[in-house]
Amino acid sequence: MMTAARRGFLMMALVSSMAVLACAKKAAPVARPMPPPAPTTTPTTAPRPPAPPEPVAAPTVVPPEPVREDAITSASLDDLNRNSPLKPVFFALDSDVLSAEAQKALDDAAALLKRYPSWAVTLEGHCDERGTAEYNLALGERRAVAARAYLVSVGIPADRLRTVSYGKEFPFDPGHDDAAWAKNRRAHFVVTAK
């Protein structure tokens, strides 16, 4: 390519010098040698058409690296939420206080969210059936907000974290005993974008 351009340049230099010489004799032949300057400009624009493919190639190169690392990024959103790497955070009765265990779960979640900075998640607040349906809407919201506030405090951008409260509408375990209730008092992660 470069050699071709150089050759073209030399040719043009030759032709133009000849033209200058010829110009002294007659003007007509000058029109024919003139086109070569255009080819000299096209070589400089020629590298550009190959450039657009480059951005397309770049993203395809970057993702394969995490894929080789783990299966999470290759999973669809549904698969991701079905076997979520973001573990739910559990709460005590009538409480939105984050226990040491809950903070550990949130630290793990924060690490994942930092590793996959494109993920957006919704934090769902849930309650067990022992409160009233109405007040539990607020209690669930408080739990979701508490988990969100913790994640923001450890450096996750707030705009990646939405909250919604379902009160006691969607128990994880439909049972009516302490074990079931403990599972139902939770903040649950749903990945909404990746």
């Binding site: 009233t132 809407l137 509408e169 969607f170």
Partner: protein, 451 residues
Amino acid sequence: MTKTFFTAGAFAIGVLAAWPHAQQPPAAPQQPTDVVTTITSDGGAAPRLAVPDFIALTKDAETVAIAKQIGQVLWDDLAFEKEFAFIPRDTYGSIPPATSFADVPFDRWRELNADGLIVGTVQKTGATIKVEMRLYIVRTRVSSFGREYTSANARLVAHTISDEIHKSQRALNGVARTKLTFDSDRDGERMGGTVESRGVKEIYTSDYDGENQRRITVGRTLNIAPRWSPDVRSIAYTSYRRGGAHIFISNIFAGTLDEVTQGSTSGENWLPAWSPDGTRIAFTSTRDGNPEIYITNRDGSNVRRLTIHPGIDITPTWSPSGTQIAFTSDRSGSPQIYIIGADGLGLVRKTSESYCDRPTWSPAPYNEIAYASRSGPGFDIRILDMAAGQTRTLTFGEGTNESPAFSPNGRHLVFTSTRAGKTHVFTIGRDGKNVRQITRAGNNYEPDWSR
């Protein structure tokens, strides 16, 4: 013999002297605790009514069935308010049924000690029925009240007769034509777009007695906590159809849907409550960071914040005059009932129990707030009498009992209970008597009673 007859006659005169002239509005409807007393005591102010099957003017099976149904529904409607004493229907068998208004055997009804007798005729004319009804004073054989109805809906005719008899004879606004609304998972539909299998809840309506249960919403999402508009043409509720929780109004006759919290992009909006004039809606929102009470116009304009506290403020209900709002707040550490002026002033705490929620303010003339109060493992319905400053308990641990709402005349409440297994809607008298199960399918929650 003579003596006995004389006593009975004197009794009848004493009762009937007051009854046909409705000009003396009895104190009874204002104070139902007295109603109970009068029905069971010897004083006997409650007239004794007989409600036989209506007379089918044509003897085809359909008309006969309608005539029987109207008599039965009317009996149930009248019995619901306990304004009259009733001659049991199974004792009517000995009395020859009348074939028209002309041959009513008044002598025989007097033998059964009836003061009043409701006689009606049913005639089928094409798709509609024509019903003529008269309320007779048995002793004088005079009709003190009579009406004609033309309708395609036999139950509605019976409900209308009941309401008009209560209005004209007892100066009472009956509830026979009122409606209930609640949310239910009965259709077993699953929510789309979630990984966990989650059941949807949809809004339903029914007559006050549980008949005509109909589904209103088809959101395939959570639609909860419905509230009738005062004109009974719309239902406001909390819906997750837009992702988070927001407040929608279904105009059930126009078939249209309005979103009240349309402009709300951050935070959730729950639990709408109509102002008594239907122009405004109080609700809970987290738009400013934590649950607070707000008031907005029906169209979503002019949103005004009412409470300011880092605790939870939720579940608003309006006073009958529209000047105050009762709500639940956990600012003291546990959920309790508070009252605040609709202008945001005059906050007062009203309960000091372990856990109270879902206050519902009674209609006038009562000044009461019903709420769910934690009692042991579950909740029971309690009523706070605002004038006396006293509370009374309506349910006593029969399952867990939640979400009370008053009937428009204040004499009954609707609520949910797990006493029959799943969560179902029940009605109960404000005296805690006369419990009636309304729903039987699925789980049913957060009922409301129309005006």
